[in-house]
Point group: none
Chain length 192, copies 4
Amino acid sequence: MRDGTETRARLEREAMRLFVEQGVAETSIREVARAAGVAEGAMYRHFVGKDELVASLFLGHYLKFARALDRLQAAAPGARAKLDAMIREFCRFFDDDPVLFRFLLFAQHRQLAKVSAGAATPVDVIRDTLARGMRAGEIPKADAEVAAAMVIGLVLQVATSIVYGRIRGRLMPHAGRLSAAAWAVLSAKPAR
Amino acid sequence: MRDGTETRARLEREAMRLFVEQGVAETSIREVARAAGVAEGAMYRHFVGKDELVASLFLGHYLKFARALDRLQAAAPGARAKLDAMIREFCRFFDDDPVLFRFLLFAQHRQLAKVSAGAATPVDVIRDTLARGMRAGEIPKADAEVAAAMVIGLVLQVATSIVYGRIRGRLMPHAGRLSAAAWAVLSAKPAR
Amino acid sequence: MRDGTETRARLEREAMRLFVEQGVAETSIREVARAAGVAEGAMYRHFVGKDELVASLFLGHYLKFARALDRLQAAAPGARAKLDAMIREFCRFFDDDPVLFRFLLFAQHRQLAKVSAGAATPVDVIRDTLARGMRAGEIPKADAEVAAAMVIGLVLQVATSIVYGRIRGRLMPHAGRLSAAAWAVLSAKPAR
Amino acid sequence: MRDGTETRARLEREAMRLFVEQGVAETSIREVARAAGVAEGAMYRHFVGKDELVASLFLGHYLKFARALDRLQAAAPGARAKLDAMIREFCRFFDDDPVLFRFLLFAQHRQLAKVSAGAATPVDVIRDTLARGMRAGEIPKADAEVAAAMVIGLVLQVATSIVYGRIRGRLMPHAGRLSAAAWAVLSAKPAR
DNA sequence: GATGAATGAGAATTCATTCAT
DNA sequence: GATGAATGAATTCTCATTCAT
């Protein structure tokens, strides 16, 4: 870990911050370089180009988060505990690095298409966990993809409300409520 | 003298389509104009600029949707029916005009800041409806903003999953499930 | 004098005002039309185009002023009286219509090249008047073109100083001083 | 890394030449860049924009000329000598760089407003010099601003006449005549 | 590795002018 | 005569990227 690595880290950090503050398209390489305290051209020692910078920033953290979720669910005993562990990890992730979360939130729609077929996303991990819970009879059988979407949406939208200032404070205090709500969703029977 | 109404409508329609297909920043005025079959400069007779085009497109439909939700909840008797009506309206909205929904979904993070203080958004309408239900004793008392976020996230993320091809088909078939899940969420007690 | 003439006059007046306030290149036909209360296209009923509007505005008034000077000098007896009459006319012209004067002052460098060979400008009139005074022995012989320039500059720069707010008030109060100074210039012997 | 100093100088030189030949508004950045032998975008490394280019070109030379005048008047003994020195400097300035003079002459009306309050212009220098001469009893007391305007106009208009081809040759040969005329103006008593 | 000047391909926008109504 | 929508070329400016130093 020498000079180069540190410059790269600074570029990534400042880029993400600016992307969140102004938007990706609205942030120029020049701004990123200036914020990181290096010359414009220096970025090209570390990244192929702007697109690659954005993609690597997004995918790196997005897939790493999926792996963290997967590790946690694997370690938890039973569907209910697995779900709870994942929701708490989500809350922790959100509270730990608000800039990173916002970046993933804002950039997702442009970047999701770039996820290669093989890689498991957080959505995949949660869906698979729920599917296994259904097969094990711990969760009422239903479309796992729909179930995963509902559970994720539940948590994600509360986080989003915090991002937009509709809800104050951190996400973790809501973890119990979210976990209970998620479990209620998975148990709910369609009205009609 | 030519009538500009039709040109404006064509510009709006093609702009939204291109914004959804390529992204807002990635779509040039030239492309929009060409798709609408007019010269570049013609756009500026109808919109102040690109920013205003995007903002008017977003806000117009976003707030109109809020008003539709509000009308429906007002007409429905009781919290359960109001919630159900709003969720079904959401599904109808999604299925009716997928391009419009995707545009609102993708553009929200850049545009939401531009919502003027007074205007009621769909989130506001749902939160207020739930809050009234809580005051009326029809829904267990809780933070209405959090409750609204959970209900909205539930539905929105299933819609998003359809957008990303994770779930096939239309949203309306899921309406019953979503409505039941939303009601379960509102009734759920926190685990701890 | 019907509708058309009045519209033309309004266009000319507003154009000149805007040209003075913002500059010719910085003023669009649209602005002129709006200020005159007509549609953009209407201008083209009265003027060939923007260039012609500017040129006609400049030349019309510039040459008319030359003719006024010429009439006055012809009526005055003797070189001294002729010079005085012309300087007073200049002051009157300046004080009467500040917008017109500023327009001629600002537009001159772009428009002077368009004066056709035959037409007599104010500079021509003054030079010729001085030349005749020299031939008549009333003014010491010298290069009439240089003499005219000095006399004109004398007056013009005081007017310009008023335009720029360096000198307050009207120009006419300075007429006596200017006339005496001009006469002194014409009588002065080179230092070396 | 390339050294931008020479490029900047070339841009300034060619810009000024084109501005004089065609007018500021009539000269595009593209033309300037092409004439300077660089790409369009290169200009923006050296100037904020076209406006700043014009302003910096004007103000830089205009104020530099004022400082030159001030140095000369300070070195000359007595009001008469000071005036003579300034007029000769003006002639030298005019003859030395006709392009620069024409640029200042043509651009003045758009640029003069941008002179910051503190900076001394050539007009200020001459006015102050005359005012001191009046206080010292070397020049008859009068409004120094008016006196300065007359003296400047005298010289400037002869220069202008050369610019417009009304007078042939250089300005310096007229220096003696101009100096004597200026002195005569300062000594002249109002006619009435 | 780093620098920042230079490139060159657009981008948004303006605007004189035309023309269908 | 008037209107104002439409044109289309031109303009200023931006920006990812390259490259000489």
